[in-house]
Symmetry: C2
Subunit: 362 residues, 2 copies
């Protein structure tokens, strides 16, 4: 296979001009080019395995049908990759391709990543983060239609639309789930406040209590961090050496890794899950939550949906939906708050085996 055929090659082979080739191959042949020529052109193109040079196209048309995705660390960290998967799927449906650049959490690379993408004439830009977080959007992002997924810019002037999970609702529904199983003494192991996710989930947790007309047990909410060991030690503090009647009967965790630590602690103390204490995760992490022993009840983050909703909305702004299906504006359940242009996507309760009825007598 040698150098690729150009439109000129096709034109020569078909015995016509370059313009004719262009017209025909772009569907604007009828009424402009003789039917017989059209036929010859198509044959020639097929014979030469011709496809237009995308670089030349971009230069000419000032657009590329490429959406650039810049991520803080979703490529290189284990988390949230499905946002990109969801975004990519929608882009492909509409005849766009996505191209990803990861800054590995180095904000000084933000601008240059965006610049590189812009240099390549991307038609739109999406910024994706691991974990919900506030962000200072790179200034040059404003040069093309752009959107934020799993992050938001709280400076009023930088009003980029954002698609984020409904964390407070997630926290509330998690609490409501164990409440519906009869639990009243519920603890919440809540990550830290470095990400807004934890405070929002705590807020939902509190909402559930007020909603149930129950007092919010202040000291049952502890912020310990996000990893297995944090969950372990947090649970130990809650359970070790305390008499059964004073133990929380359910422990909600701000992610699945904490839940692993909690289960570890329970087993170490000879406690059964969920017979003695119910444990709930958050995130529904791939091959973690489902594979745990016992399989973790959890609040699934709507990663794919977020990516898909963000891309659908971005593409609508980019305009031109020539190749894809009609876009009717994303998931029906999503709510948009007018001013800030934030789309909240609901989390999904997943009930497995780590939560059960409250122990008798509690």
């Amino acid at each position: 296979m040698k150098r690729k055929a150009t439109a000129l090659d096709v034109a020569k082979l078909a015995g016509v001009s370059r313009s004719a080739v262009s017209l025909v191959l772009n569907g604007r042949g009828d009424g402009n080019v003789a039917l017989e020529s059209q036929q010859r052109i198509r044959e020639a193109a097929a014979a030469l395995n011709y496809s237009p040079n995308k670089i030349a196209l971009s230069l000419r048309n000032q657009q590329s049908r490429i959406i650039g995705i810049v991520s803080d660390q979703v490529v290189t960290s284990p988390f949230d990759g499905n946002i990109i998967a969801g975004a990519d799927a929608v882009a492909r449906e509409h005849g766009f391709v996505t191209v990803v650049m990861d800054t590995e959490l180095d904000e000084s690379r933000d601008e240059s990543a965006v610049e590189t993408l812009l240099d390549r004439q991307v038609d739109g830009l999406m910024y994706v983060t691991v974990g919900l977080r506030p962000l200072h959007v790179p200034a040059n992002m404003a040069r093309v239609p752009s959107i934020l997924a799993n992050c938001f810019d709280d400076r009023p002037e930088a009003g980029l639309p954002a698609v984020i999970p409904d964390e407070v609702r997630g926290g509330r529904e998690a609490a409501e789930h164990v409440m519906s199983l009869g639990h009243r003494d519920i603890a919440f192991l809540a990550g830290d406040s470095l990400t807004p996710a934890a405070p929002r989930r705590i807020e939902g947790f509190r909402d559930a209590f007020s909603g149930a007309g129950m007092p919010v047990t202040q000291d049952r909410v502890i912020q310990v961090g996000w990893d297995i060991d944090a969950g372990f030690h947090g649970a130990m503090k809650l359970l070790e050496g305390v008499e059964p009647a004073a133990r929380p009967t359910a422990i909600l965790c701000a992610n699945d890794r904490l839940a692993i630590g909690v289960v570890l602690a329970c087993y170490r103390l000879g406690l059964s899950v969920p017979q003695d204490v119910s444990v709930m995760g958050y995130d529904d992490e791939f091959r973690i939550a489902k594979a745990m022993v016992p399989a973790l009840s959890t609040m699934a983050l709507p990663l794919r949906e977020m990516g898909a909703a963000a891309m659908a909305s971005l593409l609508a702004e980019v305009g031109s939906a020539p190749e894809g299906t009609s876009d009717d504006g994303g998931p029906a359940a999503a709510a948009v708050s007018g001013a800030a242009r934030e789309t909240l996507v609901p989390c999904r309760l997943v009930v497995r085996e780590s939560t059960g009825p409250v122990p008798a007598g509690r």
Copy 2:
């Protein structure tokens, strides 16, 4: 900020011709352009915030200083993202940028992903996979310098260079680590044979036994899968209801998730780790191995190094190292087997708290 400045804008502002601008800005000004003009050109460029249009450059030069990375699922899965991080770091050092496309494990998208990248004039291509695996390289990859990271093509005709971890050595050194702690009855929970990683690690495990002049205890090697529950049930089979003297004193796992399951089982059975049984993982998974309770001894996969070595080697083939540091051929420890052009990168033993001396009397 309106439309970007072009070379013509700079030329006009400096009162010279486009060619002069090009010459000066590409360092070929001396001896061709009057010093005074050079100065004016540089000032004009700075004033207009000029940078050459990359698309036009690519079209003109038939190259882009972009390396395309196609991944089977490293973006969208939680694993092995550091291969890309390592590759990207090296590329950036040399003035290249990387652009990633993930096929989400859909092999029918391989060709078109490569095609898209090729259309964009990438100067080189890297195929990266999650977990060591054989692969049928997309045919069109051969059109530019290419390399495989964490995968290999075993068809003799498709001789692309590959950078992979030295799994058999990893398996051997893992076994040797616990042997050095006095363990003799060692079990190996070994994933499955869907990936060549497990068989190779098993081979290394066996090598360690022959090396120590010990009989290979056949029934101590069990292939159970890769997830927490598999580790849990595997360990249960090994430990539950068997008298202490008949228990393996160390359990090696083919990944860290299995090790979590094993520890879970130990705790459930009232066994301590590492006092009663030593447990070892594999992979050194980010925020898993280190965060476990106890922190997992493990065999770290050299992900970053693999990505870096692969990129260094690819860039050497692409040629032209104008902007970066000199490349001296990757990690010193890597071994290249001439014919197949496979580079084996050694894993790294990480000793933490889950392995300890063999219990007294065993």
